[in-house]
Symmetry: C2
Subunit: 411 residues, 2 copies
């Protein structure tokens, strides 16, 4: 299969891009005619790397707008009560809605952490995007379920679909024992997997940790458990002190910034200047729909920049080019995906952005406009691993996915 | 002219809405057949009030992405240098681009403050939306230009187009003398106009004011000049203390919150809990494109809520219903426009929202989804004063406006 994208804007100049199977095969105008199975007119479009959403609970999309604006504990009670009722079918429908939304806003990969991993797998395979499916682990699941989850992870360690990987995902230090963290990390090491977790999200998490674990911060506690390495991908990381940032940098662990969620839940402000200064690996995620309430990575980039600027009183606390790289190339790299850049030999993941959209005018700098102005209406085409998943802002099957999602408005 | 919107969702139930000329004439299903010049199918759409953007510099849309992420003073120098070159034609093109963007994201009114008011007026009239055109006043314009500006305001006080009003707009306390503020306020009173200004945007503005004016805050200083009343619409109002908020409430002056701008320029965090507690009049604005960089009021609502929640560590610091009212009904009311609610007898300003959009799923609560999830792709139709300005997300003439705007990418 060959796809030729003609006359598309790449780094400020027009070119042709030939995709062969799942690879960017040749970038540049050819003297001779090029044969292709599909030709895409790239005129008035810019080709950019798509987004890699490094923290999400996709199934929660069916809970969008379920309950809002209550004090945290009351809100959590309502969400947890509703979550406990959800079936495998619900998670399948929620994950499909989430993936539809991600495709429409330019995202090609998500790291998920939720329940019913078989439902999630089914949805991801049908929709054709990349995912790291984190199998959520908590002590209160009980030994039998935990054993089953680990058996699943071992079994699916070398799953046939190259777009999909799995990860043990110990939920957080306040729901998982040290023993469970160690078991999860060993499972990840043995199977060459990543390990997902939530970390240092709130002040109370840090304070409780210090009380329980000889004054150690959550980062120190996990480091001493031996579960911090480049396999470790931690969401939130809001309340890192200088020492925590240094540990993360040294261990090469990944800190996933979720600005909308941290703001909406009043968790605090991620210390972007500190994390940058210590050369930590920083990625970007939307978190689940209940604490966001959408999965738009363009919006998340803008929130990240503006939050850093106001939070640290500096106009260059996080720049457009920096956050764009964090949301694209960096996220792919941290998950070992050879994509996130439009370069010959890389996996053919890309978006085509509509340069005639009003939010892209004038278009002196496409990155500035993508970060600070764009929304989903600017994303015209999405290609994942050489497959066109959206053209003219239309995704196959979207009506059916929407119809199924509507049911949850009443339930 | 009669427009019938059939089977549209209003407050959770389906109904028909008849617009006669520029008024919501009847809301409810009719037993008898209804004649209309235009019938709009409202199936799978919700009707909502549109947005009233209370602070904007529309012409700056042609400067979108011109320069970013520099320290404030360096950035301002670059912007000011470019602004000084702009012609009447540039402002016309920029304002048309801004209005196109506003219509596409559901906005029906904007309060503008910029130069070349004839260009702005021409753009507003052609595009057919509502505006309050603030004529920017600063001491350094010189006496002759100021006299001309006041003459223009007196002449256009009773302009024939009911959608358009004008306002003297003294720029800020650090660019306008007390004498100029008084002259502007007297002009507003004499002509039954509003007066726009910037106020308490940065810490240094407040500190400098105290030094120069016997320790008075900017609010106290303006109050003592006698220029605070319900005619006074002040943008930013970031650094209000308790006394400032009480003065604003007592004077019934309007504080326009611009969260994106305040975050992007590191100005600070608007004290939403204080302003709510003191029952201040609060409205919402996007500010100009250089400090935002778009004019989306849905995005601005989300930023307002999330900034208040993280800034004041409270999940209910600003609720979805509250910010939606601030962005719609409140803004209209403060400018004396009998609109902003879908009610019989009100001016027929409304949007139809596409309930089949992925960001609106599931749609248990349309306000929650509009505030926390929606983007411009959710806005299908916009009606301003009984005229359809957008249907199926298409605006008349948009290609031509975009073509003209493209020029500025290179200049």
């Amino acid at each position: 299969m060959k796809i030729l994208i003609k006359d598309v804007l790449l780094n400020q100049s027009e070119t042709d891009i030939l995709i062969k199977d799942n690879i960017f095969y040749r970038i540049g105008k050819s003297e001779e005619p090029v044969e292709a199975d599909l030709i895409i007119n790239g005129k008035d479009k810019a080709i950019l790397p798509p987004f890699y959403n490094l923290h999400c609970h996709a199934g929660m999309n069916i809970l969008r707008g379920y309950v809002e604006d209550l004090p945290l504990f009351e809100w959590l009670q309502r969400i947890w009560k509703r979550e406990a009722e959800l079936t495998a079918e619900d998670i399948y429908n929620g994950t499909r809605l989430a993936i539809l939304e991600m495709i429409k806003s330019g995202t090609v990969f998500f790291a998920d952490m939720y329940w019913f991993h078989h439902s999630i797998l089914k949805a991801v395979e049908e929709m054709g995007i990349r995912a790291n499916i984190g199998v959520c682990l908590m002590d209160n699941l009980g030994q039998e379920t935990l054993d089953k989850n680990f058996a699943f992870l071992n079994e699916y360690a070398h799953y046939g679909n190259p777009l999909i990987t799995f990860a043990p995902a110990p939920h957080a230090i306040y729901t998982c024992s040290g023993v469970l963290y160690k078991r999860a990390f060993e499972c990840a090491e043995r199977n060459s997997m990543f390990m997902q977790t939530h970390l240092s999200e709130t002040v109370s998490e840090v304070e409780d940790c210090k009380k329980q674990h000889s004054n150690k911060t959550p980062v120190e506690y996990l480091r001493d458990l031996g579960v911090l390495s480049e396999r470790t991908i931690a969401a939130h990381c809001v309340h890192f002190n200088v020492n925590d940032a240094e540990i993360f940098a040294e261990c090469k662990s990944v800190a996933v910034h979720n600005p909308c969620s941290n703001m909406k839940l009043s968790s605090g402000i991620f210390n972007m200047p500190l994390m940058k200064e210590k050369h930590c690996k920083i990625a970007l995620g939307t978190d689940g729909c209940s604490s966001n309430n959408n999965l738009s990575m363009t919006e998340e980039m803008k929130f990240a920049c503006l939050l850093a600027k106001v939070g640290f009183q500096s106009a260059d606390a996080l720049k457009a080019e920096e956050v764009f790289e964090i949301a694209t190339k960096a996220g792919a790299e941290y998950y070992g995906i050879k994509a996130g850049e439009i370069k010959e030999g890389m996996f053919a993941d890309c978006i085509l952005v509509d340069l005639n959209n009003e939010k892209m005018q004038p278009n002196g700098n496409v990155i500035y406009n993508m970060v600070y102005s764009a929304d989903s209406s600017c994303i015209d085409t999405l290609i994942c691993n050489g497959k066109v998943l959206m053209e003219h802002h239309k995704v196959r099957n979207e009506e059916e996915i929407i119809e199924r999602a509507k049911y949850y408005a009443k339930h």
